[in-house]
């Protein structure tokens, strides 16, 4: 390669590098400004006792975290959030898979059902939450009216300590199942038909064992994505709780983000809210990483 060629390649590479840096600079700056920087700021804030609106504050080290550990409301919140995540994940993934399997085997009407089940995902959750509130109305809500008509006992669901969280879980599953269904369908359609034909020849009976040996393993990557996304979204539950129960009755439906919101923006205990945020973030990242690793392993071994 002669000298001039080398120079122009070098110049080209240099130009490419400049372009690369230039084009990605805005995004990079914004990442520092809007994501990484704020995380650092949150962690710093969590070490103070600052209250929004007050003039001064002091550094109190890990006192906020200590308060959280001693705070029964924090533990209730953590517990409720975990229960919610577990229930909504199982429900929406299970339901999504079931729907996907059924719809995939239909000879007509696939698009119709797909649309119907996807509607809850699309619609404004906040507006639909208000509709759900009406559905759950103790006297005039459809659910209680149907129950009475069928001979059951109506209940004030959202104000019942035993049922408030359950009601929220139902709404959560209702909202997310369609999304998972669509992804599962995509995954199912990607499975090559010849595998099933081979199974036929090999004498693998249709139904559950076919599912176990062919379908499920090949759904691995999609399932991984679904599990992680559903978990993250479930952890972030806020809208429904804030609108319907405000964490009540007696904190039976209190969830982490609601606690953070109340502490930060209703009680103005900013330092404490920051500490709770750090805990929340750690949990989300932990769960995401653990799930990814765990499922990747599973996916690899099949």
């Amino acid at each position: 390669m002669n000298f001039h060629r080398r120079i122009s390649i070098a110049r080209y590479r240099y130009g490419e590098q400049l372009w690369g840096i230039g084009l990605s600079a805005p995004a990079f700056i914004l990442m520092i400004l809007l994501m990484l920087g704020p995380i650092a700021l949150t962690m710093l804030l969590s070490l103070t006792d600052w209250q929004l609106g007050m003039g001064n504050f002091s550094w109190i080290g890990l006192k906020n975290y200590e308060s959280a550990v001693n705070d029964p409301i924090f533990w209730k919140s953590l517990f409720n959030t975990s229960v919610y995540v577990a229930v909504v994940m199982t429900g929406s993934i299970g339901l999504g898979l079931l729907l996907a399997l059924m719809i995939n085997q239909l000879s007509f009407g696939k698009g119709f059902y797909r649309t119907l089940f996807f509607l809850p995902v699309m619609a404004s959750l906040v507006a639909m939450t208000i509709v759900w509130e009406f559905l759950l109305h103790p006297e005039f809500g459809l659910i209680n009216q149907l129950l009475t008509a069928l001979g059951g006992t109506p209940n004030n669901w959202l104000r019942d300590e035993d049922w408030a969280l359950a009601a929220l879980c139902v709404i959560g599953i209702w909202h997310q199942a369609g999304f998972n269904m669509v992804l599962f369908i995509a995954g199912l359609t990607a499975i090559p038909k010849f595998l099933y034909e081979a199974a036929d020849i090999d004498g693998v009976p249709p139904g559950f064992s076919r599912f176990r040996h062919i379908t499920w393993p090949l759904l691995g990557p999609v399932t991984l994505f679904i599990v992680v996304m559903t978990a993250i979204k479930a952890f972030q539950v806020f809208d429904t709780v804030q609108i319907l129960t405000q964490g009540g009755p007696s904190y039976s439906s209190e969830v982490l983000l609601l606690t953070i919101y109340k502490e930060g923006f209703e009680y103005f205990r900013t330092g404490y809210a920051a500490a709770l945020t750090v805990v929340f973030l750690t949990l989300v990242i932990l769960v995401t990483v653990v799930k990814s690793l765990f499922l990747e392993k599973k996916v690899k071994y099949t």
Binding site: G53, R159, S250, K262, E263
Partner: protein
């Protein structure tokens, strides 16, 4: 396209400037639209008529006194405070601590005939901090018991004097609860702003929410037990369910609930809703010991604007609202009682004579004690904690163990007291 661009551009402009005109615009925000809308509208009309150079603009009402407190604190941060705010009578403190409220002592001093003595001391004191006065009471209330006389008679009440003790009230409630035409016997507005209706039974027995030095919780004594036992009995004997105030209101005014205990401030609103459906009577809060009293509820007007010219206008409005003009409006449009002793004992005699349901409160005015608000930055959180414990009784899950609930509540609140 052009209009859209203009719309977009104007939307993105952060203009917050008031127009330069001869009129001074005052932004005022009050609470509890359902209760105060008609009073505030009338106040605005009458004030503007007599003060043509000032224009009053109302923002959407706060949902509750807690909401009022939070909104003002947030607005202080973004510099969008109204000029005057209506806060719960015991919620002035956080505003003073954050330098949001304006001291009105200089304005009072410039008046010759504004008699501070005219205001009930219990009320006025709630606005006093560090030798300054930061709020003037606008409307006062006490807890009252509302009776559906028709249901009571069906339950065997013989008429005459309304029940004077809780035992009698609960007995009646139990009987009403058994009637086929009623859904529940009694509803107690336990989650009203500031745990006011927990303070009521406690103070009535001579108890206190906190110690003098405000370091210790002091309601976990016999007065606290009395209060939680009462709530318990309302659920167990009176058939109270956790329906929330809105539903309870609806239930009472259609005749499904026999007795409700809430602020006398709601009297106008409830009377209007009941209409002619049944006979409505109000009675005093029972069982107040001589050593005790009742927490005065109500609202206070606080000046927030720091602009000298608007302060003058704001003062005019506050003076108008809390003086005799405002007193008449308050009394005629709401169930509240004006803060002016003179008005109550003289000018409004005739009105009270004609409206016996309202006058019941006049007899209880001497029992007024300041409503308590917890100190420090955790006040709002403490209110929530107390509320959640009361709720555990009302939902029924801990209705059989009021003593234990009291202990837990006291313990959790103590953790939040300033050290």
């Amino acid at each position: 396209m052009k209009r859209f661009a203009v719309f977009v551009l104007s939307g993105l402009c952060l203009t917050n400037a008031s127009h330069a005109s001869e009129k001074t615009d005052l932004v005022v925000q009050y609470a509890y639209g359902a209760i105060f809308d008609s009073a505030m509208t009338r106040l605005k009309n009458e004030f503007e008529a007599s003060h043509p150079e000032i224009r009053i603009q109302y923002r959407a009402p706060y949902e509750s006194y807690e909401d009022a407190s939070q909104k003002v604190m947030r607005e202080a941060i973004i510099n969008r405070l109204p000029d005057i705010t209506m806060q719960g009578i015991n919620q002035v403190r956080p505003l003073v601590e954050r330098n949001i409220a304006v001291d009105i002592t200089p304005f009072i001093e410039q008046e010759d005939n504004l008699d501070e003595e005219g205001y009930y001391p219990a009320m006025l004191d709630l606005g006093r901090f560090d030798n300054g006065l930061y709020g003037l009471p606008f409307a006062i209330s006490l807890p009252a018991v509302y009776y559906n006389v028709d249901l009571m008679e069906k339950a065997g009440w013989e008429g005459g004097e309304l029940p004077q003790t809780w035992d009698k009230v609960l007995e009646l409630a139990e009987r009403i609860n058994y009637l086929p035409e009623s859904r529940q016997g009694i509803y107690y507005d336990w989650d009203i702003s500031g745990n006011w209706l927990l303070q009521a039974p406690i103070l009535s027995q001579g108890g206190q929410m906190a110690s003098e030095d405000e370091q210790q919780v002091s309601f976990n004594d016999s007065s606290g037990e009395f209060a939680l036992n009462l709530l318990s009995r309302m659920v167990l004997d009176g058939g109270m369910t956790n329906m929330g105030w809105d539903a309870a209101n609806a239930s009472f005014v259609v005749g499904n609930t026999g007795i409700v205990v809430t602020t006398i401030g709601r009297l106008e609103s409830i009377s209007n809703q009941v209409g002619d459906l049944f006979t409505l009577r109000t009675g005093p809060f029972p069982d107040v010991k001589p050593s005790g009293g009742l927490p005065a509820g109500g609202t206070t007007l606080v000046m927030l604007t720091k602009d000298a010219e608007r302060q003058q206008a704001a003062w005019e409005f506050i003076k108008f609202a809390t003086g005799s003009n405002g007193a008449t409006i308050v009394v005629e449009e709401t169930g509240y009682v004006p803060p002016n002793m003179h008005a109550n004992t003289h000018d409004l005699q005739e009105f009270y004579a004609m409206h016996s349901n309202r006058s019941v409160m006049i007899g209880q005015l001497p029992l007024m004690l300041p409503m308590y608000s917890f100190p420090g930055g955790n006040a709002l959180r403490i209110t929530d904690v107390i509320k959640s414990h009361l709720e555990s009784i009302v939902t029924g899950s801990r209705v059989h163990e009021p003593r234990a609930v009291l202990e837990d509540m006291a313990h959790e609140v103590q953790l939040l007291m300033p050290q």
